[in-house]
Each structure stands twice: as C-alpha cells, then as structure tokens.
C-alpha cells in the first residue's frame, strides 16, 4: 500500500489537494451563506418560504442529478462552459448553503419566545439578547447537525469524479486503471475518509453529550 502511495504520490497529492479545496470552498459557502440566509429567513417571511421550498427540492432531487443538470443542460442553455471543479463547488456549495440555512431557520423558529421575554423583562437590550441568548442557543442546538452535514458534503465530493473533477476518488480510479491493484488503492481511500470523518463524528457525539441544550 505504501509502495503505491509513494510511486504515485504526485497524483494522490494532487487528488487530495483538489478534494480538500473543493470541500473547504463548499464548507465556507455553506456555513457563511447558510448562517446569513437562515438568520434572514427568520426575519423576512419571503426568505423563509424560499429556503423551505429549496430545501424541499433538494430533498426530492438527488444531488447527483442536480450536479449533472448544472454540468450539462444548464451550460448548454446558457451557452457557457464552466470548469467542472467550479460546477461542483457551485452545486455542492448551494446544497450546503440551503441545508445550513434551513437548519438555522428551523432552530430559530423553535426558540421559545419565553426566553426572549425573560431577557427583555430583566432589562437586556435587543443587541444583548441576540448576542447572549439567541445566538448561543441556536448555535449550541444546531451545531451537531451542521457538522454532520459537513461530513455528508465531504462524501458528496466523490460525485465530482463523475463530471471529471480530478479529486481523490477519481485519482484512485485512474491509478487503479494503470496498475490494477484495487485492494490497497481503495483501502487507502477508506483510510483517507476514516481519518477525516471519524474524529468529526466522535467530536459531534462528545458535543451532543456535554453541550446538549434542552428547553425547560
């Protein structure tokens, strides 16, 4: 296994970097845009309706179909050719953004009004309520789900190989087609995902156990 890794280190490194770049961009778009859109959705009804509708669409249309639709038909319709890497960033970033926005929006809607009233009756200003009550509560309650969603996004990056993005899975397939030694190659792939996703899942489990917030 180590031999294969060393012999094809340039290929694996480039696949690894592509996957990491793809994942980081998807996470940034999803977390930054999703948090902002989720917060806006709780204040502006139209935004809430749009997020809810888009979330519904993302549930009923498989993400791979969305990716292919953006990669082929949409580009034909618009008469443009976009690098597959950026198509993947746009599609997975958008799916992440909508999903994060929906999680934040739902959590804000679930936040009992009584805590806001209680803070207000104690004399806290609107800004203090947002900073000390609303944001921490929404963050603590939505954080585990948002993190698990990012894990799913990393898994989604595998689909990018199907539109010729040279990410880690495609590199593994290419190397395998060159030397045909699937056991170590795909085991390497397993290790790659385990090393990244196992700590993430363990951290989420720990966070849920010790930072769980129950409305009482």
């Amino acid at each position: 296994m180590i031999d294969i890794l060393i012999n094809h280190q340039a290929l694996f490194l480039s696949g690894f970097i592509t996957t990491v770049k793809l994942f980081v961009l998807i996470v940034i778009i999803g977390l930054a845009g999703g948090t902002l859109l989720g917060a806006l959705s709780s204040k502006i009804e139209l935004f809430g309706d749009i997020v809810t509708s888009l979330k519904f669409l993302s549930k009923v249309i498989p993400v791979l179909v969305i990716l292919f639709w953006f990669h082929y038909p949409l580009q034909v319709l618009l008469g443009v050719v976009v690098d597959p890497f950026w198509t993947a960033v746009a599609v997975f970033g958008l799916v992440n953004l909508i999903s994060v926005a929906y999680l934040i929006f739902s959590e804000i809607k679930l936040l009992p009004k009584k805590y806001i009233e209680s803070a207000s009756s104690l004399g806290m200003t609107q800004g203090e309520i947002v900073r000390n009550i609303e944001i921490p509560l929404v963050f603590k309650r939505s954080f585990p789900e948002v993190m698990l969603l990012q894990a799913t996004m990393l898994e989604y990056t595998l689909f990018a190989s199907l539109i010729a993005v040279p990410e880690i899975f495609r590199v593994a397939q290419n190397v395998n087609s060159l030397i045909y030694d699937p056991v170590p190659i795909y085991t390497l792939l397993i290790l790659f995902f385990v090393v990244i996703l196992a700590p993430l899942h363990l951290f989420v489990t720990y966070f849920k156990k010790y930072n769980k917030v129950e409305y009482v």
Binding site: S120, S121, L122, G123, P136, K140, E214, V216
Partner: protein, 222 residues
C-alpha cells in the same frame, strides 16, 4: 409607592378593563380569580411584555417578572443565569453578591448545574435570585408555585415574606388561595378582566356579604 392608573388592554373576545391600584414598599398583593380572569395578562402588561391600550404604569423602582415556568436560560449554569445581567452592566461585586444569595437560599452547591438538572423549586428560587441580582424593587410573580411540591411552595412563601420584610413590592398571581392568604397583605380579585375587588387578606377570606367572593373562596380554597 408604585401606582397603576386606568390600565386597559383589549384583545379579541377579552379585555383587561380600567384597572387602578397602588402598592407600597413592603407590601404584597395577590391577584386571584378563575382561569381566564386576566391575572397573567395584567402581570404581563405590568412587566411591559404586552402593550397597553391605555393607562399609566409608574413603578417605584426596577421591576422583575418571574413567570410560571421560570424561564432560566437553558444554555447557562445556575450561577451564569443569575450573574449574566450584572456582568453585562459591568457591576463590580456581583460575584460576591451572587454567592451570598446562593448560600442564603441553599443553592450554592448547585451553582454549576444547568436548569434541566435542577428541581422545580430550585429553578424557581434561582429565578427569584436572578431578579434580586438586577436590584429590582418590584417583583411580579406569575403562578410561581403552580408546579411545585408543598416543600418548595413553602420555600417560595418564605422568600416572598423575606422580600416584604426588606421593603420590596410584590405582586403575584396565584390559583392557590392558601399561598395568597399567607403571602399577601391585599387581594385583588379579578373577574373577566375587571378588578372586582381590592381588599385586605382578612376581609377577602372572611367575606360574608359578597356572595361572589364567598363562593369563590369556598370552591377554590383547599
């Protein structure tokens, strides 16, 4: 002295009508009446949680509203709950004050627990300490004993009596007439949003002339 004059609020199918009363330092008023008589609405109006349609509310000092479900902030520990506002205001000796109250009300050993790890009585006492920590002079307590066992209710009663001794003004809504009799100096009997009677505790519980009050006491005093 705090003074409320002609306080009015109308909702669809219900209204609190033209209520006036005053409360002096060291005095406790019990708001009683059947469910839907307007007790909680009146307290929420006084707390500023509902907008009044008309009337004047002049409180002699800062107010603190404690609701029936305590509403401690669930992401903060007991000590964080009671020190949040003094900390935000940059007050100097709030930690020492908090420790004093926690010891006085037998909550010190629970200071690092979260609200869901506390009993109902402990949560209620925490809510009252939180109100004391903001230097409130007027306490508005909405059915604070409704979910408590007799022991915890007794503790709250002792707290109300202590507040009176220290010249705080207390207005509490309750279904428990025994609690009203022991904790209040005056009773305001609400009936369908009207202030039907505002009389002393003794007069209220020994009412012979007013059949409405007499029947209410007979039916609801356990």
């Amino acid at each position: 002295m705090s003074k409320i004059t002609n306080l009015t609020k109308s909702y669809e199918g219900f209204s609190v009508k033209d209520i006036s009363f005053s409360v002096s330092p060291g005095e406790a008023i019990a708001l009683v009446g059947k469910s839907g008589s307007g007790k909680s609405t009146l307290l929420r109006l006084l707390a500023g949680l509902e907008q009044k349609d008309a009337g004047e509310i002049n409180f002699d000092g800062k107010i603190a509203y404690v609701s029936q479900d305590y509403t401690l902030f669930p992401h903060l520990t007991l000590i964080e709950n009671i020190t949040l506002l003094p900390k935000l205001r940059g007050e100097k000796s709030y930690k020492e004050t908090a420790v004093t109250y926690l010891k006085e009300f037998e909550l010190y050993e629970h200071r690092n627990k979260y609200p869901n790890e506390l009993s109902g009585g402990q949560r209620q006492r925490t809510a009252l300490i939180r109100a004391l920590m903001i230097n409130a002079r007027v306490f508005l307590l909405d059915e604070v004993t409704s979910a408590l066992d007799p022991e915890a209710t007794k503790n709250i009663l002792e707290m109300v009596q202590k507040l009176k001794e220290e010249d705080y003004q207390v207005i509490f809504a309750t279904h428990e007439l025994g609690f009203a009799e022991r904790g209040a100096d005056r009773v305001m009997f609400l009936d369908e949003g009207d202030l039907y009677k505002d009389i002393s505790v003794d007069s209220f519980f020994n009412q012979e002339d007013d059949s409405k009050i007499k029947t209410f006491v007979e039916n609801y005093y356990f």
